[in-house]
Amino acid sequence: MDYRKFLMEKLHFKWPYPVRYEEETREECDVLVIGGGLAGSFAAINAAKKGASVIVTDKGAIVRSGCAGSGIDHWSSIHTAPCSKISPDEMLERTEPDPFKPEFCRYIAMRESFDAALELESYGMCIRDEKDEFVGAPFRDEETKLMFAYDYENKHTLRLPGGEQMKPVLFREMNRLGIKMFDRVTTTMLLTEGGKQGGRVIGACGVNTRTGEFYVFRAKAVILTTAKPLRLWEFATELVGANAAHDDPNNAGDGDVMAWRAGAKLMMMDRSHSSPAGRRYPAYLTGNRSNTWWPCTIVDANGKEIPWQDRDGKILKTVEDRTKLAEGQEMFAGGMGGYKTYMPGLISDLADRIRSGEYKMPFYADLTSMPDHERRVIFGIMLGNEGKTKVPVVETLRNSGFDPEKDMLQANVLPPKYMGSNQPWWGVMQEGISGPNIRELAFSNGGGLVVDWSMKSTLEGLYAAGNQVAGLSGASNAASTGRYAGRNAAVYAKSVGFPAASEDQIAEEKKRIYSFVQRQEGYGWKEIQLGLCRIMQDYCGDVRSGEVMEMGLWWLQSIHDNELSRAVAANPHDLGKILDVATRLAVDQIVINQSLARKGSSKAMGSVRLDYPEDVDDCGFYQTLRLENNEVVVEELPYFYWRDEGNCRDAYEKHCCL
């Protein structure tokens, strides 16, 4: 008798929730939002304000789900704020267009990001220095009490003193507006008109992972706002916990796979990078000077300060100098690289100077020597409101006795070349340490749905926002495109009726879902997930070629037909996990198909083909993928396709539904 069977027979406990496998609830609404994170919440609220009846589903708990569930410390692109010195149109002119980030979505954010922040404030979230704790600080606007990060001169990134409460505040507002919310519902399939691939999207099916109950949601319009898929190349909860190896464990790629099966166009789905492969530390919990810790002083083991330099290599003498533009520089743009917008960093030859013995490791983040306002804003406002920092970082350190006025937090020890790099040290990609083939699908600016200026996908009735959109990431982008998609979907919903759902399509999905709870023995979800990761490591890793990837597809289909069809779920939670694995298997298939479609290598996507070594990033078009009669169709779509609608200002005003 295997141990699992033994435990199930002798030691099992009764499931704490009612079990309602196969029982069905049917709901109807104008706009269905799948994924109740930041983009989904803003989409739901703004669709409801346009008069639509709205339902939101989420596989987690909407009050705290999504990337922003435990907070956000800063809010980008607030170009319409009263003190911001760069307008949306000026910003657009000043930044180099990147074909792999949807610039029109960024423009939408530049127009609406500050309005989204004001929305949060109106729902009860603090966005200003209301307690006057930072009067006189160089990053504070004395009139509005708004506080800015990174570019103190141009003021286009807002610090959020109440960001930790963002999701609870949005949740309360959704309740107030009468939006129906379904927690713990993994949505597995989009309903299409007549059950046909490529038809209008008219709702979705899902299953509750506490009760096992089946849901059918009929809707006039659907907005997909789920996150990007993760855990594709590596899965190892036992190595470091689900924390350090991955972002949100719920991120399976549900939205991408549902859209794929329905026949929508996806692109950039193979965008990946090398992964810290289970050696990461909790974000922000090691000494560091990037991102939320910016611009913290770093000292070496003997307390010797590591100098900072500007983009031209000029050594910066004071902490305040790190927040000032270089001579002739127009602006900083957090996260956006390039000489034009380059933010100061540690000296560029640091690695050599560590090797020569000039600086000794380990290094420490020295908050004690920072000016008081910078120390308090880093350890308290930024750390404390950013995702996974209030409890995992600030409370953890304080409860252990750490005092930012007295103590210096150690930076994790890394090879010298990484200590000189500009990445946050806790998550440095340690290629070469854990093996060459460990990758992670890009969470920032990764692949997703192709959308137009209405945030509509290539299918009628289907919209997307936030992380769901190919190339898009970031909190303020999620909120802004969520608002915009919510309005567009609500307007569309008013113009159309309710087509009948295909009962065959529903019955087939029901059969697939409950097959996993009908057997007593079989594979657990973890072993299958681990097996899928091996296929991705071997057949779609750093060494890619047509034949190898075709074999990968064969393997995936074989696991689908054999091991996955023998997977067993002991309860509705387990069922949700198996459905996630099935989703990841489909994502793997999409990723390999995407890499196969490009007859070339792509630096931007992190895809190197041995059989097509030439880099084709400057070819001027994407390869989009979609299913037609369950066959993969590859098409070309020009970079900047959204420019067909004219300039951003005109196109925005035409489609914004305000």
Binding site: P16, R64, E164, G241, P249, K388, G401, F402
Partner: protein
């Protein structure tokens, strides 16, 4: 008196969330805030069961949302970091659960 039990090996890591039994009222707020259903309501009432510790994302929402401060988040041992007191050069480290040695306030 010793007892031995026939159970599977502990999941790793297995101490992600701990409860102060004297404070926990069994209200299950943490159960309903957790995105991953790592916590399950205790059929016998009282503190929830940390049923799926290996699926914990260490977001700390259970701790943030606990109305009575009964819940503690513990990073796995291989995720703990050190710090140095600048004035004395003494080294301390993260582990607020069992370690007696804390810097003097």
């Amino acid at each position: 008196m010793y007892n031995a039990f026939f159970v599977s090996s502990p999941i790793t890591p297995n101490e992600c969330i701990t409860f102060d039994k004297t404070k926990c009222t069994g209200c299950n707020t943490c159960v309903d805030s957790c995105r991953g259903d790592v916590l399950m309501p205790n059929p016998e009432g009282g503190e929830p069961i940390v049923m799926y510790p290996d699926e914990c994302w260490y977001c700390g929402v259970c701790v943030s949302d606990c109305p009575v401060g009964a819940c503690t988040l513990n990073h796995p041992i291989n995720q703990r970091i050190t710090w140095k007191r600048k004035a004395t050069g003494e080294i301390f480290r993260v582990n607020y659960c069992y370690m007696d040695r804390k810097p003097e306030e």
